[in-house]
């Protein structure tokens, strides 16, 4: 294992486990410790460990404080540097609102040695509104909260995620994935993925992109083009394929109180497959080797509550092998996931993951053998490369990969239909919170975060008002007139300056200031400019009522300049038009939309404090039940797997899972059970 992996893991464990047990110092200001001549022994950043690591790396303003005399300016300069770093920290998604809390304090003061430690508690988060309602996001939050909720700076240039695994079919398997989120500065993501062992080779390259819409029922569109090659073992054949594909997936905005997201998509692919068999040993409608063209269509719904997530997906594949028929085979797959968590104690959630998958293949003409169902302890997906997880084969963890493929020994490999239920139960026996206890329990930090998460809708409501038709009407019909009139009025106020009597100079100056402000605001109106500010009567501001008062009532009532009066009349008319439209803005609806948008993300952030763990060790209980067909008289088509294992997770860094599952009704080609080992590095390497 490379040196960097070991050092990163070691640093992660040390940072995670050694949360600062800081003894409080006298309740005095920073100047006190400077005057008393204290020296800084250690400098710590507390908070989510990935954030701590990122903040400490290369931050000289913080690192340089250690070992030097304590100064009030120094500790504040360090905090300033950390804030700057956090504000500039890249995230993988845009968020309409976000909050960052940074604090500074002294700890572990020793009056005898005149030493103290400096501690900076930090917390930051953003809301990925476009994906937060999906079951896949729920999984990502537990596995990689840094990336899912922007709890730490993201690697936005490239990310490398190595993996290591083992199963009896594929042997020891190594590989990884490289993502370049923004290829040559565009919004296109490049991904390269590869896995290899003595038995398996798989590689894929893809380009993907997408768009998020600001309004309307459709929120997200994602496209992907890919080429994939794979050569995998089954017991009697090889599953060898190469394919090029193009896909597009769409998802709606969250619907209803539960926030369900409906998604659908389509994928076209073409390529070739071969199995190593000969057509002579197969029925006439099965092809050992062939070219193929597939059209996959899929739809589903996903939703989550604070402690559960569900996703139901249905897909249909229509394929042809060039036999002359329009469709040679049709495959249908249903995949339903329901995961729930029951909080037994702080950072001790009992997790119950259930999944039901079923599929059926109809052979209407010559059909590739590899399109049949091959099951075991490795999953294949219906939508390759997509974030949308839709399983497409029978997963039985007691059977090595792809060996669950027939009922009787002499059958043709591959199932025509299957139905499988998977159950995984886990509960951490050891867990450290994502936010160290000291930071999570600090009243001031907690209050700021709680305020943000419980009523962040306040900040968002004006942004939703910008979608109101009245707001759009003003942009389309009044913008130019307002810019023209205010510019003309500013020009006139400037032109008359020389002729203004001395006694009116202060009034003229006040008018010039205010109309200058308003003209500037009016000349830079965009679709995101809130129009209410133009009719704001607050004398501190520069709304039209203020300009009318200062320039017309107070100044021009004495100057009696005809052109200024004319501009004043135009402004009053514009004020009336704007006020009429502003009054039409449905503020209640905007507020409601903002509340609906923020309600769920708020609960997610709350969960970070109370439930999420940065390091957890969980025993696993596994149970699978399923059947595969076609049935053969005298042979059992049902299978059961029962097993156990353990999962060690270091949030946003490493996921390690191992265990063994018994095949309770084994057939000779399947084996009596299967060992599984999977080690994945999530986001350690990158930039």
């Amino acid at each position: 294992m490379p040196k960097r992996v070991l050092s990163t893991l070691a640093a992660a464990l040390v940072l995670s486990i050694t949360t600062a047990r800081a003894d409080p110092c006298p309740d005095r200001g920073f100047e006190f410790f400077e005057i008393e001549g204290y020296r800084v022994k250690n400098v710590r950043v507390t908070g989510f460990w990935v954030l701590r690591r990122a903040m400490l790396a290369g931050n000289t303003a913080v690192a340089d404080l250690a070992g030097k005399p304590f100064t009030a300016a120094g500790i504040l300069k360090g905090k300033r540097a950390l804030r700057d770093q956090l504000i500039a920290a890249p995230a993988l998604f845009d968020s309409p609102v976000g909050v960052t809390v940074a604090a500074a304090r002294v700890a572990n003061c020793s009056a005898a040695t005149k030493e103290l430690d400096i501690e900076y508690p930090l917390f930051t988060t953003k809301m990925p509104l476009a994906s937060i309602h999906t079951a896949e996001q729920a999984s990502l939050e537990h596995e990689d909260p840094a990336r899912a909720l922007a709890l730490a700076p993201a690697n936005t240039r490239y990310r490398i995620a190595p993996m290591l695994g083992y199963d009896a079919s594929q042997n020891v398997l190594g590989g990884g994935r490289l993502d370049v989120p923004s290829l040559f500065g565009t919004s296109i993501q490049l991904s390269l993925e590869g896995q290899g062992s003595s038995e398996t080779t798989a590689a894929a390259i893809s380009l993907a992109g997408g768009a998020e819409r600001e309004s309307g029922w459709l929120e997200r569109v994602v496209w992907r083009g890919a080429f994939a090659y794979s050569d995998r073992p089954s017991d009697r054949l090889r599953l060898h394929s190469s394919r090029a594909s193009g896909q597009v997936s769409l998802s709606t905005r969250a619907i209803g109180r539960i926030g369900a997201v409906v998604r659908f998509g389509s994928l076209f692919e073409g390529g070739s497959q071969r199995t190593g068999l000969t057509d002579a040993v197969l029925p006439s409608d099965l092809l050992a080797s062939s070219r193929f063209g597939n059209w996959r269509s899929y739809a589903g719904v996903t939703a989550r509550t604070r402690r559960s997530a569900m996703a139901a997906s249905y897909g249909v594949l229509l394929g042809r092998t060039g036999s002359g028929k329009r469709i040679d085979y049709r495959k249908q797959v249903l995949d339903v996931v329901y995961d729930s968590r029951f909080l037994l104690a702080a950072q001790r959630p009992l997790s119950v993951e259930t999944r039901f998958t079923a599929g059926a293949l109809a052979r209407l003409g010559p059909t590739p053998v590899s399109e049949r169902f091959f099951g075991g302890n490795v999953e294949t997906t219906f939508i390759p490369g997509s974030e949308w997880s839709m399983r497409a084969n029978p997963v039985m963890r007691g059977i090595p990969a792809f060996r669950l493929n027939r009922v009787a020994p002499g059958d043709v490999p591959g199932g025509d239909h299957f139905a499988v239920l998977n159950l995984t139960v886990s509960v951490p026996v050891f867990g450290l919170p994502v936010i160290p206890k000291e930071a999570a329990e600090n009243e001031e930090i907690r209050q700021a975060i709680s305020g943000f998460v419980t009523d962040g809708a306040d900040a968002l409501a004006p942004i939703y008002e910008l979608d109101d038709p009245a707001q759009k009407h003003l942009f389309d019909t009044v913008r130019e007139g307002l810019a023209r009139t205010t510019a003309a009025m500013e020009e006139r106020v400037g032109a008359i300056e020389a002729s203004v009597p001395e006694a009116l100079k202060p009034a003229h100056q006040a008018c010039a200031d205010k109309i200058g402000d308003l003209a500037s605001d009016a000349s830079s109106i965009t679709r995101t400019t809130p129009w209410r500010m133009f009719v704001n009567p607050d004398p501190e501001e520069r709304g039209i009522p203020v300009i009318v008062d200062v320039c017309i009532m107070q100044l021009n009532s004495k100057l009696m300049d005809a052109e200024l009066a004319e501009r004043g009349d135009e402004l009053k008319s514009l004020q009336q038009t704007i006020q009429t439209q502003v009054d039409k803005i449905d503020r209640t609806r905007a507020r409601q939309l903002a509340q609906e948008t923020m309600a769920f993300p708020s609960r997610v952030v709350q969960t970070i404090f109370d439930e999420m763990t940065v390091v957890s060790l969980s025993p696993l209980f596994l149970f699978d039940a399923g059947r595969i067909g076609p049935e053969v008289r005298g042979w059992r088509s049902t299978r059961y797997s029962l097993g156990g294992g353990a999962r060690l997770t270091l949030a946003s860094s490493v996921s390690f899972e191992f265990g063994y599952a018994w095949n309770l009704r084994p057939q000779p080609w399947e084996g009596r059970g299967a060992l599984f080992v999977a080690l994945r590095f999530l986001d350690i390497f990158g930039k």
Binding site: V99, A104, R105, E214, N442, G451, D458, A461, T528, M533
Partner: protein, 126 residues
Amino acid sequence: MPSSNLKSISVDIEVMTKDRLRKVVFGLDKTTADNGEVTWTIDFRLFEREKKTDEFGDPLVKLDAVVVKKANFDNAEATAVAGRFKPEQTEHALGPAANDAKRFKDGKITREKAEATAERTVAKRG
């Protein structure tokens, strides 16, 4: 905020326009001196980008360490404790405060005027 040994705490509130081309980070920083005297300062940063796919990069305008008037302390405290803006504050931050920050950058108004407009974001809580 209640008394604690955190003698310096800052809350940075980030608000982005719906077209995702403009972002304001409004920071409130509270420092308590040894004699118990509290100082509130504002850090205002305006970010803009041409396209949604571009990085925001460095702030277009930075107004650092704008000292909050004592009259606005209660509103500063309320905003920081809440960790969020009221609607009027969002409107002001994305509207006049952002516009004046740009005008200051363009040399059209003084720093003091831009800072005063940024500070009025706090007063909008009242």
